[in-house]
Symmetry: C2
Subunit: 119 residues, 2 copies
């Protein structure tokens, strides 16, 4: 089976997808939902430093991409849960790998940044 989409092509929709994935907070939110549904405040607390506005925007974007589902249980005080859809969980796999890589190779990069060794 040949490729239907090629990221290297300027007009390919997969670039948009990649752009979304690369968005500042996407990976954090997806990873934050890895272990199951979570409420807005719980996510916000878990991802240190994210502001409510940005979290909302990120969640909305992921929702419209079909990666995240929003369940509103109504009532007062409000109760809303966010969870990964099937599609979202499938993204979790490559993203977890990226996160792993980032956390693993921090020292190598910090090293490289301060010195300039031969490869």
């Amino acid at each position: 089976m040949s490729k239907a989409y090629d990221v290297m092509a300027a007009t390919c929709p997969s670039r948009t997808v990649l752009h979304r994935i690369g968005a500042r907070w996407t990976i954090f939110v997806v990873v934050a939902l890895a272990d199951g549904p979570r409420r807005f405040t719980a996510i916000k607390t878990h991802i240190e430093g994210i502001t409510p506005k940005v979290l909302t925007e990120t969640l909305r974007a992921l929702e419209s991409d079909g990666l995240v589902r929003r369940d509103d249980f109504g009532g007062n005080p409000p109760h809303v849960e966010y969870s990964l859809t099937q599609l979202g969980r499938s993204l979790l796999v490559p993203l977890a790998a990226v996160r792993e890589w980032a956390e693993t190779h921090v020292p190598d990069i910090l090293d490289a940044q301060s010195s300039r060794p031969a490869d």
Copy 2:
């Protein structure tokens, strides 16, 4: 063995790393160098739509992070080759997965964007 770095922590250097990875063109450049060393113009041609300025910036950043090596063969006309370092090649693994995912799931996302089915 416990985690030394945690992406969810606001001050963790791994966030910087993640930011670099997420930068607009990083993934394209790394993937473009997957098959071996390439010259500036070759990369530029391969990644449709990238401008020389942005390519230079991206390459410099990756170089200073120790992900890419720059070999200048001098002469005239100039001859410069870029290649992935060991570290760069290790990043290639998770990034290739992300790219795969992007190219594979474009239809799902396009679908989700135009309709709002019940997950």
